[in-house]
Symmetry: C2
Subunit: 168 residues, 2 copies
């Protein structure tokens, strides 16, 4: 199955010169979505828990956690998660961002798989790795639906096991 | 299984006097999460497609769509979805909000199940119903993980089939 057939490229969204990768056709086709989740799940069989990134990472992360019968943990933007939080600031090209996880969500030395829809520059993924390591989790793998290879996000994730289902 | 045991109430979050319902313990327990998804799925068997609301609705909606092998469609805040969009403005207590769906995501007379984590005042759910009906979809059911009964959200959804797994 060629998954890239189910990702539409939308020019100039959300701003001019950005080519947005739209996952809606993939989600709209159950055969393709179920195949995708099962393929992503194969990359996470050795992990203790699945971490999904707000918001589209929730779609893939939660379905993989369901398929594998593993715990699911949310990583969210600042102000969205209650209770005791660990947070990580990181710089993007034109601004900075903060992601958070609940402190008690990962136990020491647990093997973690991080799931998101897109690997672009790798900034968010790298910050997520640091966040999880600050909670004493061990990054077992990072699994993306797609990877924008020209942005070289894998370079920022050197030393980690990185998989993507589609490369652009 | 008493699902309410896996929802923690966090006082004064995100602002004073708000008691936040934290779904993290439910997501962290695979037996409970899988049971929840299967119970929610039972309420959606007659539908053609599953609509999930950004962001926590994605967790439950995508897993139900995976379990039932049905299409999954995202409803998101303004500016998040590309291509041709239908949008709906609605008022909340202190501000207003806009939700969007892709125009081509629902075909005429398709039966739709709407999935979200919380039914509170019902404002977002009601706006989602209108949005889908504007696309000529038919609301078959609304399925929530939990319902805050004292906020009487069901009143706004009179005439629709509404289910929740937990009532507070």
């Amino acid at each position: 199955m060629n998954l890239s057939d189910y990702i539409h490229t939308i020019p100039d969204f959300p701003t001019p010169w950005i080519a947005f990768k739209d996952i809606s056709p993939l989600l709209a086709n159950p055969d393709v979505f179920v195949y995708t989740i099962n393929e992503m799940a194969k990359k996470c069989t050795d992990t203790d828990l699945i971490v999904g990134l707000d918001a589209r990472g929730f779609i893939f992360g939660a379905a993989v956690a369901f398929a594998l019968h593993k715990p699911f943990v949310m990583v969210r933007k600042k102000g969205k998660l209650p209770w005791e939080i660990v947070s990580m600031d990181y710089d993007l090209e034109y601004w900075s961002n903060t992601i958070c996880i609940q402190k008690n969500s990962i136990h020491q030395w647990q093997n973690v798989a991080i799931i998101d829809d897109v690997l672009a520059t790798g900034g968010t993924a790298q910050a997520t790795c640091r966040l999880i390591e600050q909670c004493w989790g061990v990054i077992n793998s990072l699994v993306f639906l797609m990877e924008l290879e020209f942005l070289a996000g894998r370079k920022k994730l050197a030393g980690y096991k990185v998989s993507s289902m589609i490369a652009f």
